[in-house]
């Protein structure tokens, strides 16, 4: 058995602060933002290819995902009544600032597009809005990777290369999965393809993360976060395989879709809690930094 690394600490106390972001608010927002963003892309594709049924579902998912996500974000604030302060400045160094200026237009645009789509009114403006939402969609689904990574939290910061892809994939499989759940099989083909592609990206990113991070990958593999991550991988893999093999049955399709959606939720909780765990143990701050210093000293 590899012995635990030796290091000193101040009475075993953590060095960095544990994020104060609330659960389930923030993990759910990550999920909703990812699903909504990818859903907007699906919606635009559906509109361009005249797949009205798919378009209607995905527009609704995009708009309501952004809406509910925004509610969670506001609730997570220490001073929710001051949520508009997010729009005081735009700071590229702050993914949260950038994200506010992605989420706000996306919410507006996707809501307008969904409204137009569902009521049939102002179709041209609705399409324009939909196009805009689709442009903001991928950023919405992926900026949260930078949001988590741009902290001192070891499990997040060290994973800054993989997290955007992990979230992109997770968002795609969630959007696709939600569409599979809510759309008849004859219209959900693209959704199924997006779901499978998303799953592949997600699983690959997850695997790369664990291999590259070394010791800091532990929080993703141990304890509760580890269990969540493993559960999510299995759900994703299972649903993907089943969906690939039997795409015809509405029931199977729905179950696979629901599974993919659930898996996306579980993934976000897993990543979130892995971060918290890496903040709480000083080992993950001290040991990698010591190793980095040692490496510098050798060169």
């Amino acid at each position: 058995m590899v012995p635990e690394p030796e290091f000193e600490s101040y009475y075993g106390r953590q060095i960095i602060k544990t994020p104060t972001w609330k659960t389930p608010d923030v993990p759910l927002y990550l999920f909703l933002g990812g699903m909504a963003g990818a859903s907007a892309v699906l919606a635009e594709g559906a509109a361009l290819t005249g797949n009205v049924v798919l378009e209607r579902v995905t527009r609704l998912v995009a708009a309501s995902g952004a809406g509910v996500g925004t509610v969670f974000l506001v609730h997570d604030l220490g001073r929710p009544e001051r949520f508009l302060h997010m729009l005081r400045v735009i700071k590229p160094t702050s993914p949260l600032s950038v994200g506010s200026f992605i989420l706000a237009p996306f919410s507006a645009l996707s809501s307008a597009a969904a409204a137009s789509c569902l009521t049939g009114r102002l179709p041209r403006l609705g399409r324009l809005a939909g196009l805009g939402a689709a442009a903001f969609g991928p950023p919405l689904a992926t900026y949260t990777g930078a949001l988590l990574a741009n902290t001192a939290v070891p499990a997040w910061h060290e994973a800054h290369r993989e997290l955007p892809f992990l979230f992109a994939g997770s968002g795609a499989s969630a959007a696709g999965g939600m569409a599979l759940l809510l759309t008849p099989v004859q219209h959900s083909g693209p959704a199924r393809r997006m779901a499978i592609a998303g799953a592949a990206i997600e699983l690959t990113a997850s695997e790369l993360l664990k291999r590259r991070l070394g010791m800091v990958a532990e929080p993703y593999e141990r304890g509760r976060p580890g269990r969540l991550m493993r559960l999510a991988s299995r759900m994703t893999l299972g649903a993907t395989v089943v969906s690939t093999l039997s795409g015809r049955s509405r029931a199977v399709s729905a179950i696979c879709g629901a599974t993919l959606v659930a898996s996306s939720v579980v993934t976000r909780f897993g990543v979130f809690e892995a971060g918290l765990a890496s903040a709480r143990d000083p080992k993950y701050t001290v040991v990698p930094q010591r190793e980095r210093m040692a490496a510098r000293a050798r060169t």
Binding site: E6, P19, A38, L77, S94, L96, A152, H160
Partner: protein, 319 residues
Amino acid sequence: MGSLWGRLDDVTGDAGYVDHEPRMGFFTDTSVCIGCKACEVACKEWNQVPDDGFELTGMSYDNTQALGASTWRHVAFVEKPFETVAAQPPQEPPHPTTTDLGLPGMGPPGWDTHESGLPSGEDQATASGDGGIRWLMSSDVCKHCTHAACLDVCPTGSLFRTEFGTVVVQPDICNGCGYCVPACPYGVIDLREDDGRAFKCTLCYDRLKDGQTPACAQACPTESIQFGEVGELRERARLRVAELHDKGVDVARLYGADPDDGVGGDGAFFLLLDEPEVYGLPPDPVVTTRDLGSMWKHVGAAASALAAVGVASFLGRRR
């Protein structure tokens, strides 16, 4: 906008100030700290910071525990035996879930595995006298980094760089999003639970505006906390370390004084008598924003991939 990383000699100018005062900060020389905690009390009195809980921790004389939203000066205490003649090494390998070798545990160091620091290494019953104990004491504070992650990530503009080069939170703007909290590599800033907003040391911005000294530096009886221009403090600190080395205190070293370090050097830096992590400080802190460029690049790539996936999902058969 300024630079995000690397050496930055004029942090205040980089923040947009044109004709500005020299950068002000703290040099905390822990070799003369007597652990009196006057700094903690003076800070709370001046800034009307609420009390932070009453709990006997057993962490030596440290019942304050850590910096936070309601503790802006925190005195750390570490009781360490001298690593002179080691007592015979412990018989069993280190316990798998704990770390050993000098970890300041809840009891005195090594008290349940071997006697600490006695000349002959046997049972304590051989001799009186100090086997040799060190009691490290250090007043921790917000570092007011050159590259301050908290400031970089604040989405409302509440955190800003003052004309003195310090970093301050504006409580009337902060909406408690909490992003600054995990961004800080030193674990300084936090949200105040019953209030919702983020709070931290202001380096007594109001006192600085009146040409006064921050409360903690004013109160410190041994001048462990020294306030002044950062450049001048760094010079003073270098001389002090040299002086201590001449006296044989080889363990003395500066922390946060190097403008080439991971945060560009701290406006509030320290002279320590042991490794940083012994005091609860990160050994090699790096401002998270250093990797921001890479982060956005990967976000862009992932977003593009998602868009491509979206397109590809509709190619081929209509269904």
